[in-house]
């Protein structure tokens, strides 16, 4: 088991290195433009550009530049922003905290609601099933961007119940924090439930049609045990894969939500840094984003392995 975890971890790290390297490679043709825009239109004489490039180490071969960056990362040094001189690690971490606090709360709510709805819809049918199908359809039909704006308009502008924009850190004011994330979370939850509940319903139905369900019934075992223990356990694998993808989808959705609600999150940070061409920050953002993906995938595989005895033999 330990060997398996280590192997998966190694694969994940290799992927993360490749992703950041490819990103660096893709960015490299624009380094000249970035330096020019940093110097401003008047100051960008060829000599000044060359001097700044030497100063930033951008005149070295790409691979050397990348390895230099990677070496720093391995020592916990993510570089310093070209524009704010802030250490990249701190800056990225604080933005990520905002985004994750919204995404994780939204994901938790989506999971609880979706599992309940999906399971009920799969083995009871009837009204619950119709609700799940309609919620899923509506959630897919309306772009999440429009849902978010509609919520701001109704709850913040018209009703004035909640702040329309801005973020209050949890450590400062828990109630204020809750208020500031409520609408963004709801906007994400709608899309989340639309996706997850339909998928969990489908996975449960697939599993309920299996032969062993009938055999368990013929032994006098109760419906509750069959559905919640036997079937849910087997449906959890496919559902978990969907959940991990949903987490990543929500991270993407959060980028837009942050913009609507003016939250100082990861997406906003990525946007402004990319506009400026702040290479160390862009690389830091890419690295943390990639590590999130790798981490979520690893976690999914591990839990799947734990759920599925066939994958457990190692």
């Amino acid at each position: 088991m330990t060997l398996y975890v280590l192997r998966r971890l190694a694969i994940g790290l290799v992927l993360a290195v490749l992703v950041t390297f490819i990103t660096y490679l893709l960015l490299s043709p624009s380094f000249d433009d970035i330096v020019v825009s940093k110097l401003g239109p008047t100051g960008a004489t060829p000599e000044a550009v060359a001097a700044v490039k030497t100063d930033l180490g951008l005149d070295r071969p790409i691979v050397v530049q990348y390895l230099d960056w990677l070496g720093g990362v391995l020592h916990g040094d993510f570089g310093i922003s070209y524009f704010t001189s802030q250490p990249v690690g701190d800056a990225v971490a604080s933005r990520l905290a905002v985004t994750l606090s919204i995404v994780l709360v939204a994901l938790a709510i989506s999971v609880v609601v979706s599992v309940t709805l999906g399971v009920l819809a799969a083995y009871r049918g009837g009204a619950v099933d119709r609700i799940v199908q309609s919620v899923s359809l509506i959630g897919h039909l309306v772009p999440s961007l429009l849902i978010a704006i509609a919520f701001v308009y109704i709850f913040a502008v018209k009703l004035g119940w909640l702040p329309a924009t801005g973020y209050t850190p949890l450590s400062e004011d828990p109630v204020g924090w809750l208020k500031s994330i409520t609408i963004p979370v709801i906007a994400l939850v709608i899309g989340g439930i639309a996706n997850l509940s339909a998928q969990i319903r489908g996975a449960m139905i697939d599993e309920l049609h299996k032969d062993y369900v009938r055999t368990l019934r013929t032994r006098g075992i109760g419906t509750r045990s069959i559905v919640l223990k036997h079937v849910l356990r087997n449906a959890a694998g496919p559902a978990l894969t969907v959940l991990s993808l949903e987490f990543l989808t929500m991270l993407g959705g959060a980028l837009i939500i942050e913009s609507v609600f003016a939250l100082p999150g990861y997406g906003q940070f990525a946007f402004t840094s990319s506009l400026q061409g702040d290479i160390p920050v862009i690389m830091g953002i890419t690295l943390f984003g990639t590590l999130l993906v790798v981490g979520v995938n690893l976690l999914t595989d591990l839990v799947n392995g734990w759920l599925n005895p066939k994958a457990r033999v190692l």
Partner: protein
Amino acid sequence: MTEVGVLDAEVAPEPAPAPGPGRRSPWRRLLQDPQAIVTLVVLVAYVVLGLLADVIASHGPNEASLQAYNAPFGTDGHPLGADSSGRDILSRLLHSINTSLVSGLIGAGVALLVGVTFGLIGGYYGPRLRSGTEWVFALIQTFPGLLLLIVLMPITKGDYRFTMLIFGFLLAPGVYRITRNQVLGVKNELYVDAARVSGLTDRRILGRHILMAVRGPVIIAAAFMFGTAIAVQSGLAFLGVGNNQVPSFGAMISEGFKNLYSEPMQFVWPSLALGILTAALVLLGNSLRDALQGARRKPAKIAAPVVAPGAAVGSASPAGADDAGAVLVVEDLAIAYPTPSGELREVVDGVSLRLGPGETLGLVGESGSGKTQTAFATLGVLPPEAVVTRGSIRLEGREVLGLSERELRTLRGRSIAYVPQEPMSNLNPSFTVGAQLVEGVRASTDVSRAEARERVMALLTRVGIPDPERTFRSYPHQISGGMAQRVLIAGAVASRPKVLIADEPTTALDVTVQAEILDLLRDLQSELGMAVLLVTHNFGVVADICDRIAVMQEGRVVETGETTEIFTAPQHPYTRMLLGAILDEETVRTDGPAAVAVPLGTDA
């Protein structure tokens, strides 16, 4: 912002059913679906409006005029008004359509091209090449999605076409996986083998036969990806990623959002246009899915069999009058299933059976004759769509039809039990053999966990499992098919049922194991005094262990009698035909039925 369609198709990979002869083609079905027609019309309208953008609008999309500043709806020359820069809203909307459609075409096109190509290669050629393609797509999936598109702004320079090109690669893994799975599913089909044997090149086979087989799920995924690409492009434009000279719904929504309180219509127009476009694509994707893969699955209710309202259910004669000496009586049982047109079609039509204590009755007939449906009805585990339209099933004198699932549960295990056909699929793969058996014992008796465990261990020994301790701790995939069938028999007899329903208990097993399992059933039967209803199509099995036989054809019992009688003097032509089918096998029938040396694997 979702990749719904792609995920959908991936998690529940339902193979597209090949349209059989006489069935309408999927495209005909699509054109008879009003939802598909409406959405197609909407999409065509968008395309036409986009193409005619310069003709319809009298202004350019970026043409700003000071006079038109925030012009209201219906202003002369600006039918939908103008925005805060004095640009014509109608013109911007029409040109935004083109931006969206081009985004969808590039995003979905690249994803399809990359995903399908590598999916075909990865699926068709050997595992070594496949592990290469798997790596590449694992790598693509590790890129942090939308974030990458933002981060690469310095290099895309905000050109949405370049951005969508990259996004197409990010969407490709979903298509790759769908294609690869489909190819793995069909590449060993006989028609592909035939093509290979007849000397077609791999390229031809891939291009013609395999691509045809995988096109259904891929077309569905394409519709959803088209919508996803449009949504992502709008989202990015809303954020401000992109050239502000390119009119797009996202940019218009963003501007409208800034003026939401003063000029709400500037927000409403692009939102409506984008909302209708993406909704049409999602609905079209759903219609395509229904047409190409069949209707979506209905919930699988766990409930007692449905009895048709007003059906004559229950004993026709005074309660159990003729039940003397029978543990199980089935009388005039009829079971129907709804057809696509909504009518009920009977698959079991008036079946009557009697099973005395300790007796073994063989229920014989070809596939589709209704024997398994009859067996499921006695256990109360018919599929949720089935409807009992008339008849009576009495277990130890008690009417079973009409009982609730809860009431049935008290009978199952103790009074009636079941041995299935396919041993592996009838064990839950996620729980140990022991845990599953213990739960069954505890559900049908009042013993403690420790007692139940003891009883299960004894049972496992009794059914001939060499190392019961180890089997108890094993997961189903760790034991052989023969062992699994012994485990299922142990589970069935655990609470000493009066009636055992065995549905083709040996069909899925090796020939050598079949005889052992039949011996075990016979021994257990005499030991426990159970009555056995043995469903089979194998006359060898029948001759081996049944006292009496009931022959079923097309939902009816056509002949019932002692095994010896039926073997020596079959009355019904169908019975004669079934018996004739096994006698083709050069086997000798000289000493009467007990000695009929029919190979056990022979199917009648």
